[in-house]
């Protein structure tokens, strides 16, 4: 049995939705708060079917930035961290939470300097993406940092201890295959760094 494929709906944007109706938010209630880290919200909603759902849970956390610091030879600066959620050491890109009053770019400049001692002369935005389509959580703001220069010693507190390492493309591919690079946001930004899909938003984006 080979049925016809789905109707080709123009994918011209969210507003193009033809037969779908949005959900209606009837009430938003904060049910738990673990400040300053995250809070849990319970939405009461009405679906297009008319059914009310009393407990659609979401999570809200501060946004964070993720930075891809690159050298002219294509190698990328990674940090080796202990990760409590995984109970092991892994390699990650530099990252950090957006603090009150900061723009994501300001956070990225601050975190790169604090964590690594590097400054970058050229910054390009790689886009901002919602971490989870169901719970929401926060947005991750991606940046590419080029023109690196080491200008200071890292300023890390005792929960930020790490080692720095520059890795080339082939080593990064191996580290992903081996599971040493294993965080979803790192996979997304490293994929972007080596993909042809994001030229317009990242690599050829206007310098910030």
């Amino acid at each position: 049995m080979n049925r016809p494929g789905p109707r080709m709906i123009p994918a011209s944007g969210p507003a193009g939705a033809s037969s779908l109706a949005p959900w209606e938010t009837l009430e938003v209630h904060q049910v738990a708060c673990f400040a300053p880290w995250f809070s849990v919200l319970r939405d009461r909603i009405r679906l297009p079917s008319g059914r009310e759902v009393p407990d659609y849970y979401r999570i809200e956390a501060p946004d964070y930035v993720l930075i891809c610091p690159r050298r002219p030879d294509g190698s990328i600066l990674l940090e080796r961290h202990y990760k409590q959620c995984l109970r092991k050491f892994i390699l990650t890109l530099p990252a950090g939470g957006v603090e009150g009053g900061e723009s994501p770019l300001q956070t990225a400049r601050r975190e790169l300097l604090e964590e690594t001692g590097f400054q970058a002369s050229r910054w390009n935005a790689g886009g901002s993406f919602t971490v989870d389509g169901t719970r929401g959580i926060c947005r991750a703001h991606f940046f590419f940092a080029d023109g690196l220069e080491r200008v200071a010693e890292p300023q890390r507190h005792d929960m930020e201890e790490c080692e720095l390492v520059f890795c080339g493309r082939d080593e990064i591919a191996r580290l992903i295959a081996d599971g040493a690079i294993c965080l979803l946001p790192d996979i997304a930004l490293l994929g972007m760094a080596f993909s042809t899909l994001f030229d317009s938003t990242a690599e050829e984006g206007e310098a910030l």
Copy 2:
């Protein structure tokens, strides 16, 4: 001032950590449970500095799968969904939670059929990645589905309403730039689909 770069530490894997010590987990306490969706855990830990941290919060949720269904012409099947966390319609790859007793591949086959009515004759794993390096949350299991055939009508309940659309590479790039594709896991898997970085783990991986 141009200081020497970081010491080149062999990035040969987590076990290669030279000067770093792991954190010590002293106690794990579940402080909130929003079953079956997620729970909040509070770890008491001791850092290598000797300092005790009484409240390192993590989130645990069931793993999910994310599927990249591809046609021979390179176009990819996307779903247009209303997302409560964003209060708008967006385009996403087919996804779904791993239910008790299922392998991620079983979840992927089930979700693709239920949400889209398609079966795939060839499945390749794209890797499994932890959603958040601080909170943990869960793992996202990536799959590529090729050899698509429509064999049934979609079986969606009223929180899963969506429209299906096949998009080619250039349109996907535009939809990302426009923000219609805006979820971090979708960016990661679509980047993987069009990147040269993941050949060994995904596109040339052994068929499942």
